[in-house]
Amino acid sequence: MKTRWLVLLFVVVAAVQVAVPVTMILQRKTILRYGRTYKFRTRPVDPADAFRGRYVQLGFEQNHAPCHAPVEFQPNMELFARVADGADGFAVISEVAPTRPAQGDYVKVRLTGWPKDHADVYFTLPFDRYYLEETKARQAEKTYWEHNRRNQTNTDTYAVVWINGGDVTLADLVVGGKPIRDYFTNRKP
């Protein structure tokens, strides 16, 4: 009797353990199906932090916005950033707020700073890593850097992000006008 219960519990546990990563995949597929795409223009990041093994660390121009709601800011607090398309076709964050917007697309961001002499608050977007196979990540990071020099207007390097309500997924990283994976498929390893 005891063994029967144990086996039953085992089956339930195994099912839940497999279901969790499956749900992660399904959530992403739902975003790609029902969401819409935004292009987030990238920017240089601290070279010491850029390469971290299996991914390229991304920085974005849209890392600051005004916060009109009265908030007692704390480091790393979660805020909601309203996202819309700009006139140039790239994503724009018009404002951040402590509460979810009633309508429209938004992303959850983490507050990093709120300088007293600035109207805007600073934050990190929730899609700041682009995963690649380890041996290619360093090369990708170099390519990313070549197109993200300081004081250079960046028009062809951006992250393609799908947003459905508040659910977000990073679909691609476009560097110099073409997806970063194309840099490796055209070259010998």
Binding site: V13, V18, I25, F184
Partner: protein, 440 residues
């Protein structure tokens, strides 16, 4: 009876029964009385370790092989490969559960690989599909999914990994969030397994492993989890926690023959020495009055966190106070350890109410001296070289710390170090001579 004698007895008994010298029933009673053959127990132990190591290495090796050509594979193939280790581990665990439920090496090995593959599959899926998330969320998902393994396979290694995972989770929380108080709730979820292990054989390898892991996790996680409490409450919490650990160890593990089997009193005593040394400096006391902003102000989390910290100190003081009337010279160590939370609470209260942090600092200078001296006396009385040296280390640490604090000349410092060194050598020499005399 020594291990060699028990081995000899186990080897002799079949022959004695065959020759009719000892009846079979008496031989069985002797076997029961002296326990299993230590040689066989050693083989089981080796099998267990190699089982766990083998399982972990196979898992890691498979992942590395797959990683070699990772980006050349299509996404569905990569997804299938990401799930493969988990499915294989689940299948192995299912077989063990049905066919080898009583085998500790099989259960522990299968539980280890099963627990590790959960994290591997989640992170691989996240990388394949560029799914972003924070580290704390990842660790929480991993350990909660892995928790049932502890009970299904009765695995102490899985319980240890769970505790390490819970401590990593609280360490990964990006700011002092009220959520960190759930650390104790997470640890409590393995308590039934730990209680079972400790009840069955509190000197066995399971109790040793889980005891060390939980003790070290508590030493690390308590400070992080209480980061958002009032500044300086860590003094009250740590003096209470470490004293409680030592007192619990002395109560339930006093007869343990080896250091491995005494995790609680060892971690408690060493931790208390380190904390007491820190509190002999000025900075922990001045920090109490620092007005940095913290998110728990006025919230229920702050009340709960501070109550928890105070509760640890009160519990330790209560435990000592209850037994105080029965204390003799042999209990000197427990009395001194029980004083730590009293000093911590008094120092904290003096700084908060009267800005008299120097009082706390002075108290802990005296306390560390008493702790070291107490260990030294207890070691000499009990003829325990390790305890004597621990006492000497505590005293030496205090003296060295004060010497670098004050503006004494190099000559005075040099002479003091020579005196401390001579003290170490002389005491060890006397103790060794005494041990030799006892052995003879």
């Amino acid at each position: 009876m020594t291990t060699t004698n028990i081995q000899w007895l186990h080897a002799e008994l079949p022959g004695l029964v065959k020759a009719g010298v000892v009846p079979a029933a008496v031989a069985d009673k002797l076997r029961q009385h002296y326990g299993p053959d230590p040689d066989r127990a050693g083989k089981n132990w080796a099998l267990l370790i190699f089982g766990i190591l083998g399982a972990a290495l196979i898992g890691a090796g498979v992942l590395l092989l797959v990683a070699h050509n990772w980006d050349d594979l299509s996404r569905p193939v990569r997804t299938a490969l990401a799930f493969a280790p988990l499915v294989a581990a689940i299948s192995l665990a299912g077989w063990v559960l049905v066919c080898r439920p009583a085998s500790a090496p099989w259960c522990e090995g299968a539980a280890t690989i099963w627990g590790l593959t959960i994290g591997a599959t989640i992170s691989l899926v996240a990388q394949i599909y560029q799914i972003q998330g924070d580290a704390a969320q990842f660790f929480l998902t991993w350990i909660l999914l892995g928790l049932p393994i502890v009970y299904l396979l009765r695995s102490s290694v899985a319980a240890s990994l769970y505790c390490i995972g819970a401590t990593t989770w609280v360490g990964c929380l990006t700011s002092p969030r009220p959520l960190s108080l759930w650390y104790w709730g997470l640890l409590a979820l393995v308590l039934p397994h730990l209680a079972g292990v400790w009840r069955v054989n509190r000197f066995g390898w399971r109790a040793g492993l889980t005891g060390w892991v939980v003790a070290l996790c508590l030493c690390t996680g308590t400070g992080i989890a209480l980061e958002g409490a009032l500044p300086g409450m860590w003094i009250v919490a740590y003096t209470g926690l470490l004293a409680l650990m030592y007192l619990a160890g002395k109560r339930w593990y006093a007869g343990a023959p080896t250091l491995w089997q005494r995790p609680w009193q060892t971690a408690g005593a060493v931790g208390l020495g380190i904390v007491a040394l820190e509190l002999t400096y000025r900075w922990p006391w001045t920090e109490i009055q620092s007005h940095w902003q913290h998110p728990w102000t006025g919230g229920t989390a702050m009340i709960a966190g501070n109550l928890l910290a105070a509760g640890l100190a009160i519990a330790a003081i209560g435990a000592v106070a209850r037994e105080l009337p029965h204390f003799g010279w042999a209990d000197l160590d427990r009395m001194i350890v029980g004083l730590a939370p009293v000093c911590g609470v008094a120092g904290y209260a003096a700084e908060v109410t009267r800005k008299l942090g120097t009082l706390g600092q002075a108290v802990f200078n005296v306390y560390l001296f008493v702790l070291g001296l107490g260990a030294l006396i207890a070691g000499i009385r009990g003829n325990k070289l390790g305890t004597v040296n621990a006492g000497l280390v505590a005293l030496a640490a205090l003296i060295v710390a004060r010497f670098f604090d004050t503006e004494l000349s190099f000559l005075a410092r040099g002479l003091a170090f020579i005196v401390i060194g001579i003290g170490f050598l002389a005491t060890n020499g006397v103790m060794l001579r005494r041990k030799d005399a006892v052995a003879r």
